[in-house]
């Protein structure tokens, strides 16, 4: 059943991918697609293809990171952006831009510092409240860390020497506006880490039982947990350094997957990847279409979509209804 499921999700993704290439403003004549240097070819190659690829990779990464983080925190309300991982990544990325602006900015350095910021934020959340797997403590710790990080990003962008320094709103409301082939190349780095996380599906199932129970079943809890956290922070860090913070992908997608396809991480992880890619392709198309020809950041679309769901989940949870 699982290959069929994954196959059909991949099919839906390729449909969304194709549509995202085909739809958009600018005059595209499909007859000219195969002519070298035709405007159509240039639009597709330089704008729409990298953008669709980046949306897919970042969506897949955030879906996977969200599902993994939820498993390791034993908390279905966790999301890389909500609990501060993305904020930490954004802060460290901005810090790198300020520090390195005189020496010349490098995309790899940007990604590495975003990753470090993500790991640091995750560790803080875990230290403050994650161990007892208390739903509210993790979220509250995340709110605090997020607030600090975004204030830090704001401060840096005011102090930044270069006025062309990417603005606060780029980090706070992620977008695919500047997607380039180079961005896609950097995003590909997520793939080996994603493979490792996919292999940890059964371990994540066991970790949701709790630390002691997992140890009774022979899982090396501390090591596996660290592996999942570092992997998720890595993916989130890369994603944030390329597109800024796109919240709620990691909340919505695993939640929908669990509701429809089941909770075992061997299903949840790969399906969250594919559905995350689909969701961001659609959200990106929507962000280009809704006020065309003006584009709005895809982060706004995702927040408008995700925040109400989050409210519904919290309301269910406070009324004691199982999430």
């Amino acid at each position: 059943m699982k290959p069929v499921l994954i196959g059909s999700l991949v099919l839906v993704w390729s449909l969304a991918f194709g549509l995202s290439l085909a739809l958009g403003h600018g005059n595209v004549s499909w007859a000219a697609l195969w002519e070298p240097n035709s405007p159509t070819r240039q639009i597709i190659e330089a704008v729409r293809l990298p953008r669709a690829l980046l949306a897919s990779l970042v969506g897949a990464g955030l879906g996977l990171a969200g599902a993994s983080i939820q498993g390791v925190f034993r908390n279905p309300l966790a999301d890389p952006a909500l609990i501060g991982i993305s904020g930490g990544a954004a802060l460290f990325a901005a810090l790198y831009l300020v520090v390195a602006s005189s020496a010349g900015v490098h995309l790899i350095g940007l990604s590495v510092s975003a990753f470090l910021g993500g790991v640091l934020a995750t560790t803080l959340v875990l230290v403050i409240g994650g161990r007892r797997a208390d739903l509210s403590t993790v979220l509250l710790a995340g709110i605090a860390i997020n607030a600090i990080c975004l204030a830090g990003v704001g401060l840096l962008s005011y102090l930044a020497p270069d006025q062309s320094f990417r603005s606060v709103s780029f980090w706070a409301l992620g977008s695919f506006n500047h997607a380039s082939v180079l961005d896609v190349g950097v995003a590909l780095v997520m793939i080996p880490v994603a493979f490792r996380l996919l292999m940890l599906g059964r371990v994540l199932d066991i970790l949701t039982l709790g630390d002691l129970e997992a140890a009774h079943l022979g899982v090396a809890v501390a090591g596996r947990r660290l592996e999942v956290i570092i992997g998720s922070a890595f993916i989130t860090g890369i994603a944030v350094s390329l597109t800024g913070i796109i919240a709620f992908v990691g909340l919505i997608v695993p939640h929908l997957v669990r509701m429809t396809l089941g909770s075992r991480h061997n299903t949840v992880l790969p399906c969250s990847m594919i559905c995350g890619a689909i969701l961001l392709l659609v959200a990106d198309w929507f962000s280009r279409w809704i006020f065309a020809p003006i584009e709005i950041p895809v982060g706004i679309v995702m927040t408008l979509l995700g925040a109400p769901l989050f409210v519904v989940l919290i309301a269910k949870w406070t009324r004691g209804i199982a999430l």
Partner: protein, 258 residues
């Protein structure tokens, strides 16, 4: 199979357990009794290697517990703790199947899960979400998970149960007690259970261990030796009196409220 000698455990400066010594053979079921806070769950924690003893000896099959490789230990020692809280909507059978995680050979998993679900009157709930279950149902599901871990035991194994009957109705208490007794007869298994029910202690168990409020071992031996009027009245406050039946076996407590 399990031998414990002068086991002590301190948490910070507080003594939780002092000088606990007992031994258990294959096929035997040990009851751990004592008031709240006596360290009963801590003793299970030490036996399941959650914690390291501060001093004393803890051997499983003549081997120090912490020297047994994790892969071996997890295939031979199953634990039912006081219930973990899980917030993901796993199906009942999925949670129970997690008990087979330590085993390389997964071919038997589904049939073992079905057998255990049947034995615990859970088969009708097989595809239900664990989040929709009542407390008693969930307790049986967690018990089922622990049982699947030792269900196909061919080598001496240990089952540690922390108040396995606490949320069960009377019918399911009987069901579980009978199942555990059958498993002891059939498998190379020993069990240690933390319990509060005195009448159960004399009926189901081969050995009993009594801990005082201070975590000191008061008695160890056969249940009828351990659970005497003197030992029980010394253990609980004076307003509580143990009640004995015609054969001199303890049945429960009578509480005088003033």
């Amino acid at each position: 199979m399990l031998s414990v000698d002068r086991l002590c455990w301190q948490l910070g400066k507080a003594d939780i357990l002092k000088d606990v010594s007992f031994s258990l053979n294959v096929g035997e079921h040990l009851a751990v009794l004592g008031p709240n806070g006596a360290g009963k769950s801590s003793l299970l924690g030490l036996l399941s290697a959650d914690e390291q003893p501060s001093s004393g000896d803890l051997r499983f099959l003549q081997q120090n517990l912490d020297e047994i490789p994790v892969a071996v230990r997890s295939a031979r020692i199953a634990v039912l703790s006081q219930q973990p809280l899980i917030r993901f909507p796993f199906k009942v059978w999925e949670l129970v199947a997690m008990g087979r995680f330590p085993f390389v050979d997964q071919t038997q998993t589904l049939s073992i899960v079905d057998e255990v679900l049947n034995q615990l009157d859970l088969f009708a709930l097989k595809h239900r979400s664990i989040l929709s279950l009542s407390g008693g149902e969930l307790q049986r599901v967690h018990l089922a998970r622990a049982l699947t871990q030792v269900w196909s035991a061919t080598e001496p194994s240990l089952l540690l149960l922390d108040e396995p009957l606490s949320s069960l109705d009377v019918a399911h208490q009987v069901l579980v007690r009978n199942l555990l007794t059958r498993m002891l007869a059939k498998l190379p298994l020993s069990m240690v259970s933390v319990i509060h029910d005195l009448s159960q202690a004399t009926e189901d168990f081969d050995k009993a261990l009594m801990l005082s409020r201070e975590g000191v071992q008061k008695a160890f031996g056969s249940p009828s030796e351990v659970l005497t009027e003197t030992s029980l009245s010394a253990l609980y406050a004076s307003a509580i009196k143990a009640v004995f039946d015609g054969d001199g076996l303890p049945k429960g407590f009578r509480v005088s409220t003033r």
